[in-house]
């Protein structure tokens, strides 16, 4: 029995000490704390790492120029493992710790959605660079996102497929998560409205499926003139390779998630000719983008992907809001919502009344192992 008591005492001590440790006395004024909540371990760690790298880069540049009115920006990163429970715990922690003025996060829609009620109730900005769940920003006025929702990108892709590439017998493969579902739905809606017919719509479970041969074999039978793939680059790499293996020769179109050099490394020749939309590509001659790409390459030895790019802009926009509003959480939210025509590496960005953005997109194509502007 004694052991039980000791263990319960131990537990209570732990709870109390963690209570004390999270209530830190923060020195006001000289440092501004922004939290980054993203997956730093687990299946999606690469995206969280991209965020962190880009944000650290941008913060360094801002601090070197004296920070925000003399106060230095400090980033603290929190690992949500792309999990809803972790995300809500982190959200609660950040809401309670008053030194954080805003949160950049989360990456995935599941954690972003799960944590939203906590941030909303606690009055802390949750600015997600990538969350695309259609109902995310309707969870509350503190929810912001910096990516075209698939509700925006899907129709753009539909137009590219039918009007630009002149295809009308389309097969679709999509990843069965909220992002993939919305992309597929909106793409199909637009494509059909423009007169194309969809001959196949095949889902797969992301992270688990590596073998696409049954789906590709089925699609080959149907003889489409375009294959639309709504998936992340790693899944698409596999699809491209296997399509080649099965001698499925058909033009391929995908969304901005394909904008990653690793796709070309993985799929090699199979990636030639693939079309994609994007709001960021490293060879963009725009001077802001060039500068960003160079700095990133210098610091990290690799080219930034569009996740890094959008995180970079997310931080930039947040800092702009802080410059205007100071460190009050609500004031920052209000200032952020007012931002119009922010010039960043992912184009000119403005928030609409739902705190969503509409960014212009370009069409790219993979030629000779490089991403170039598609014509």
């Amino acid at each position: 029995m004694k052991r039980i008591f000791m263990s319960i005492v131990l537990v209570v001590i732990m709870l109390v000490t963690s209570a004390c440790s999270s209530r830190e006395a923060s020195a006001p004024g000289k440092e501004i704390y922004i939290a980054l909540a993203a997956p730093l371990t687990g299946d999606y760690a690469q995206y969280g790492e991209s965020f962190k790298k880009a944000i650290d880069l941008h913060v360094k540049a801002i601090n070197e120029k004296g920070g925000v009115k003399g106060a230095l920006i400090k980033i603290e990163a929190f690992d949500d493992k792309n999990d809803a429970k972790e995300a809500t715990n982190i959200a609660q922690k950040l809401v309670s710790d008053k030194k954080f003025v805003a949160v950049i996060g989360h990456f995935g829609s599941t954690p972003s959605m799960a944590a939203a009620p906590v941030y909303q109730k606690g009055g802390l900005v949750e600015f997600s660079p990538t969350s695309s769940h259609p109902e995310f920003t309707s969870q509350g006025i503190y929810m912001f996102r910096n990516v075209n929702t698939q509700a925006v990108e899907g129709p753009i892709l539909g137009e590219v497929a039918v009007n630009k590439l002149k295809k009308n017998k389309i097969a679709v493969i999509y990843i069965n998560n909220d992002w993939g579902l919305v992309t597929k739905d909106k793409f199909i809606e637009k494509a059909e409205a423009l007169g194309a017919s969809i001959v196949a719509s095949e889902p797969f479970i992301g992270g688990q499926t590596k073998d696409f041969t049954p789906t590709l074999t089925k699609i080959k039978e149907l003889e489409p003139d375009l294959l639309f793939i709504a998936a992340m680059y790693s899944d698409t790499g596999l699809i491209l390779q296997q399509a080649k293996q099965l001698k499925l020769e058909v033009p391929i179109l995908g969304p901005s998630s394909l904008n990653n050099a690793q796709l070309i490394t993985m799929a090699g020749e199979a990636a030639e000719g693939v079309y994609l939309t994007s709001n960021f590509f490293p060879e963009d001659p725009n001077s802001i983008v060039k500068g960003f790409v160079e700095e990133y390459k210098k610091a990290y030895g690799v080219e930034p992907d569009q996740f890094a790019a959008v995180a970079y802009d997310t931080l930039g926009m947040l800092v702009k809001a802080i410059e205007t509003a100071g460190t009050d959480r609500k004031a920052i939210r209000d200032a952020l919502a007012q931002i119009k025509d922010y010039e960043g590496v992912t184009g000119k960005t403005s928030f609409d009344e739902n705190r969503d953005v509409q960014k212009a997109m370009v069409t790219l194509q993979i030629r000779d192992g490089k991403f170039v502007l598609g014509d």
């Binding site: 039980i4 709870l15 963690s18 371990t41 429970k85 309670s96 009620p117 069965n176 909220d178 579902l181």
Partner: protein
């Protein structure tokens, strides 16, 4: 002296929300409460009845989805939804338990694991019912006396009550004829059968009760976090719950509680080690098993070799495979 400590602990637990600990710690406490229910219910199945289940998260998920869907689509109140969740989880426990519990050891583990995955895949793919990966947002908070729960505080007291009821139920079972029969089956089910105890009936009973309790925890969870999706109820979650039971000490009720609290609190305390957290978690499992395999509060000597039919050194008779 002991009585004073007990009283003090009791007071701390009852008055926790008012001790100035803040919302964050209160949330951790609430999560701990949920996992206490999950770990204890699994303990009933695994530690006491001796049936290793890696599918507990499936019942958790079934409870959560049942409760959420009833509230969202049919406007059922939380209380009704929770009862329904418990029932549905229980029925599923019966359906799965009846055929599976005839299997031994390793085979049972795989079956429960397979079941867990199947449930998760159904949740993802049957999107006309569950909205698939889009999840269910906006699950309403429970209401009492006409007012919905506004802060974490009422949730805390609710989970405290649910956990207390759960522990009471399990304690009563342990000390009843059912409990004694389960332990007999655990030790040697062939001998128990020879003595007239029907192992299948008791194993399934324990399994169903475990499922019901997990379903209740699921219902609470859904109405606490207000957004659920299939991702939260995977095999990983079952592993987590099983680890809590093993860490704390299988067969020991206090052990299940301790395991749950530790594994909810530790990751929060280890947060400063962000990048290495999962790695350390794995290390903790391995090291614990090496240093103290009976679990922190497990009973000495650790007698549970029955679980996978391992041979005990002082026995001379053979066991069947697994």
């Amino acid at each position: 002296m002991n009585k004073l400590v007990i009283l003090l602990l009791f007071l701390i637990i009852i008055l926790l929300p008012f001790l100035g600990i803040g919302d964050y710690i209160l949330r951790i406490a609430i999560m701990a409460g949920i996992y206490i229910i999950l770990a204890s219910s699994l303990n009933l199945v695994t530690g006491i009845a001796g049936q290793v289940s890696l599918g507990h998260a499936a019942f958790y998920g079934i409870g959560a989805y049942t409760s959420a869907l009833l509230s969202l689509k049919l406007g059922v109140s939380f209380w009704g939804a929770m009862v329904a969740a418990a029932l549905v989880a229980g029925v599923m426990g019966f359906v799965i338990g009846l055929p599976s519990l005839r299997l031994k050891g390793g085979y049972l583990v795989i079956t429960t694991l397979g079941f867990n995955e199947i449930v998760r895949l159904i949740l993802i793919n049957w999107d006309s019912l569950t909205r698939g990966p889009m999840g269910l947002p906006g699950i309403p908070a429970p209401s009492m006396f006409g007012r919905a729960f506004q802060s974490n505080v009422p949730y805390y007291y609710l989970i405290l009550a649910l956990a207390a009821i759960t522990l009471f139920i399990i304690y009563s079972i342990l000390n009843s004829r059912i409990g004694r029969n389960l332990l007999a089956i655990r030790e040697d089910d062939v001998a128990a059968e020879a003595m007239g105890i029907n192992p299948s009936r008791y194993k399934v009973t324990a399994f169903v009760i475990g499922a019901v309790l997990a379903g209740i925890a699921g219902s609470f969870y859904a109405h606490f976090v207000s957004y659920i999706d299939p991702q939260s109820f995977s095999f990983d979650e079952s592993v987590t719950i099983l680890s809590m039971v093993v860490l704390g000490g299988m067969g020991s009720m206090a052990g299940a509680i301790l395991g749950a609290v530790l594994m909810v609190a530790l990751p929060e305390l280890l947060r400063f080690l962000v990048q290495y957290r999962m790695l350390i978690y794995g290390l903790v499992l391995v090291v614990m098993m090496l240093v103290r395999p009976m679990g922190i509060l497990g009973k000495v000597p650790f007698d549970l070799n029955f679980v996978l039919g391992a041979k005990r050194p002082d026995r001379t008779r053979e066991r069947g495979a697994g």
